[in-house]
Amino acid sequence: MFWKKQLPLIIVFMMGLIMTVQYFIPHHVSKWVYVNYVDWAIVIAIFGAFLGYFSFLRVHITRIRKKTSNWVFSIITLASLLIMIVFALIDGKGSDSLFQNMFLYTSAAINATVFSLLAFYISSASYRAFRAHSAQAVALLLAAVIMMLGRVPIGDKISFWSAWGIPSINTVSQWILNSPNMAAKRAIALGVGLGSLLMTLKIILGIERTYLGN
């Protein structure tokens, strides 16, 4: 029990304490602890990544072995992975290598296209979201429309009222971004900050221990 449960919790507490204290004490030992912690964390993460790669391979190999639905696409996934490794072995990783070109013209291109695909779906989503049922939904709709128009040159072009000294769409969009939007984001950031603070304290004090598993 001690080796499996209490000792890990003692390590968590001690390490938490050491790393917190080193921040507040400007001493060469503190700096040494900080520098070595960064190195150690990287080395542990390197081995941790192996766990992720193994899990990825296991999922796809299991799908192929059990011939679950769409198992053929697992073969394509593994084949693509293998091709990347072979390309790196035969041609290196230089700027115009097979490895870099394969990544740029397949994965990077596909990712950019998938994100651009959202331009279409976001339109239908906005139709559903913006059916102004309440005054607050109207506020959301107005802020979004002003923001969209304010990001393109047409926003200034159609702001004919700016000739009378009334702020243009671009100016209003900038104000929304810097004032009410900033206030909302800061309230959320403070909530996240306080939540993170409590979570780190719970981990150091051993109250939160789900990461240890069963």
Binding site: W3, P8, L9, I11, V12, M15, I18, M19, Y23, F24, D39, W40, A41, I42, V43, I46, F47, G48, L51, F54, F56, S74, T77, L78, S80, L81, M84, I85, A88, L104, Y105, T106, A109, I110, S116, L117, L118, A119, I122, A139, L140, A143, A144, M147, I176, S179, P180, M182, A183, A184, R186, A187, I188, L190, G193, S196, L197, L201, I203, L212
Partner: protein
Amino acid sequence: MTFNLSSNIWVWIAVFFTLSVYSFLWKDNPLFKFAESVTVGVGMGYAMVQWFTLSLVGRFWTPLTTDFSSRFHLIIPAIMGLMLITRLIPRFTWLSRYALAFTMGAGSGFALPRVIQAGVLQQLYATMLPIEFSLHGFLYNFIIIVGVLSGLIYFFFSKEHKGWFGSIANVGIWFLMVGFGATFGYTVMARLSLFIGRVLFVLRDALGFLKI
């Protein structure tokens, strides 16, 4: 109208995958699934190769073997890293707890003062603005102070949102809605610019149809 087709095979591969992804607008189909599988495989292959060369060799093996006398301590995290891998062996899974305990404990201790600094104090500091009796003071400082306070009150669920407390929370909802609207508008424009980028790629880089 003249076409100047690209002679680069990679460009046509990218065009094929671009159109395969856009075929999803019609419905989910094997072409889209193919593109999806390729990007996962290529992405993982890229990550694995970079992990091996830059991380395992570059950050661990080379420093350890070239300067063993001053970097020998890297063996300790390497042993902890190997302990993490024992998660794959049910009988020895508990050994991975030591590596997790070190990572979580040190990580939490490392994050704690920084979270207080960046996540709480800096945010509070930026909100404590002078209330100026001018249009600029009202439009910026006053709105930010009211927005942050009412937003925080909206997120405070230990007290029922009724009476004056509920009214302030309601003001917080208004600010949050405007904030979400702004984020949504910004995201739409970012996605549209990506779409323009893909259209330009097909029309200009592949077909040579546009000269911009």
